[in-house]
């Protein structure tokens, strides 16, 4: 027996709705995981298909690399990046990353849409033309 039972039950339903929101929103649908494509012409030309650092490192640290590059170029005028295994790269978002990963849609966006990050870099920097 509850006093003001109607109001309390409405409150509880709202509470349960909020706390199970992700379950209700998904309704048991399977969600495809992102598949960033690394089959661009530039990468296909490579013998040893490697990013500037190891894949695991790139996965978690690529935004830090970009941030460090930006600071190095814009503030200190340094443009040469030496990777851990001794290769050299021009520190550039458009001319280095996007040269190999020449489809932003099929690569960067694939992951970013999945986790809802929207790097604001593209407000100024120009992404390579898609579909070429």
């Amino acid at each position: 027996m509850m006093y003001d039972g109607g109001k309390i039950i409405i409150g509880l339903l709202i509470f349960i709705g909020f706390s199970t929101f992700p379950f209700l929103f998904t309704m048991g649908k399977a969600v495809a995981k992102p598949e960033p494509k690394i089959d661009t012409p530039e990468i296909q030309k490579m013998v040893d298909k490697k990013c500037i650092e190891s894949k695991q490192y790139m996965k978690t640290e690529h935004m830090v690399i970009l941030n460090d590059w930006r600071d190095a170029v814009v503030r200190d005028g340094l443009r040469l990046y030496k990777s851990k295994d001794g290769r050299s790269f021009d520190m550039s978002l458009q001319n280095t990353c996007m040269k190999c990963h020449s489809s932003k849609k099929k690569f960067c966006d694939e992951c970013h849409n999945y986790v809802a990050v929207k790097p604001y870099c593209w407000d100024c920097h120009i992404a390579p033309q898609e579909g070429t």
Binding site: M1, M2, Y3, D4, G5, I8, G11, L12, F15, I16, S19, T20, F21, P22, F23, F25, T26, G28, K29, A30, V31, K33, P34, Q56, K59, T60, E61, M63, V64, L66, N67, C111, N113, Y114, V115, A116, V117, K118, P119, Y120
Partner: protein
């Protein structure tokens, strides 16, 4: 004692995760089973507590008020601090839940030279509480980006606003700073103020240490020891779609963060933290002060058989007359 104990429990949880995931490889336990159990405990526990509160009778309106009661129409009454209508109560509840109005009225007592007892206003606690609760809410809502595909626009907008200053990469969130500062103040209040420390119990310290550990592990995971966020989202989406999966190579710090969160959720219904639900059922806040306008009957009252004087006289009228006792009706 209580401080050290609470701190040790939090450390123990971290060590258990370390041993369980690194040592015994119990990833499935920590990433799937414990989260489900914790959520169930949370929902069932809070519901049960609310049902229990709902069963208690409220025989009388409890007018702890901060304003003039409604009496006569030409005497100005305070409609929010001493409401006598449902609308007034709704207004009071909104202010209480969203702005912590009664905490705003909080005072502190200080003993000055003399000795003289002085009451002063104490707004810092209110400020820290507001800062903490709203940061927590924003962080919790932002976390929905791990639990929804596609991520709803309001959540993305929240993320945009929270990272408005566009500092660093990954972007720095404003709430991360606010919540840490607020938590440190709330902790200082209990550790550094003798009067508060005197009345603090492990159940006061533990939630503070636990939430601080959650927040610090989250910040550490985002900016320092990064994990594969795409992998994390595969776990979380697996959980919410009941298709559990665990990709390889997710850092231990994620399991620590998650298990601390599960501890918080499972502990919630048994602790003072249920004030989240309790605030809505506070009799001093959610009842209109209409004692003078409506009769409130205590449902727990023993049913008393009432006998009126009329009845009494009807029964004994003749005898009363004979004995010369005056009666009302001849």
């Amino acid at each position: 004692m209580g401080i050290l104990f609470s701190f040790a429990v939090v450390i123990a949880i971290v060590l258990i995760v370390f041993a369980g995931v690194r040592g015994a490889g119990l990833n499935y336990l920590f990433a799937i089973i414990i989260p489900y159990l914790a959520l169930l405990t949370f929902i069932i526990g809070v519901t049960y507590r609310v049902f229990n509160w709902g069963r208690s009778a409220v025989p009388f309106r409890v007018p702890t008020t901060g304003g003039q009661q409604f009496t006569l129409p030409w005497i100005k009454s305070n409609k929010l601090d001493n409401p006598h209508t449902s609308y007034g109560v709704i207004g009071r509840m909104i202010l209480e839940v969203l702005l912590f109005r009664s905490l705003f009225r909080n005072t502190k007592a200080e003993l000055h030279d003399g000795p003289r007892l002085v009451y002063g206003s104490e707004k810092l606690l209110w400020l820290a509480a507001i800062a903490f609760h709203y940061s927590f809410l924003v962080i919790l809502l932002r976390h929905l980006r791990f639990f929804t595909v596609p991520v709803p626009t309001p959540i993305q907008f929240l993320e945009f606003v929270d990272s408005f200053f566009q500092v660093g990469a990954p972007l720095v969130y404003i709430t991360n700073f606010v919540i840490v500062i607020a938590l440190l103040f709330l902790l200082y209040r209990r550790l550094g103020m003798p009067q508060i420390k005197y009345i603090s119990l492990p159940s006061d310290y533990f939630p503070l240490f636990l939430i601080l550990a959650i927040v610090l592990s989250g910040i550490y995971m985002r900016y320092f020891d990064k994990v594969d966020i795409v992998g994390v989202k595969q776990i979380t989406m697996g959980l919410v779609s009941f298709r559990p999966t665990i990709p390889d190579g997710i850092g231990i710090i994620f399991y620590i963060h998650l298990t601390l969160v599960c501890t918080l959720f499972a502990y919630f219904p048994f602790s003072k933290l249920v004030h989240m639900a309790g605030v809505f059922l506070s009799p001093t806040r959610n009842l209109a002060n209409n004692n003078r306008m409506q009769r409130h009957v205590n449902p727990w009252d023993y049913p008393i058989k009432v006998r009126s004087y009329d009845d009494y006289e009807n029964e004994f009228r003749e005898k009363m007359k004979k004995a010369g006792i005056p009666v009302e009706k001849e």
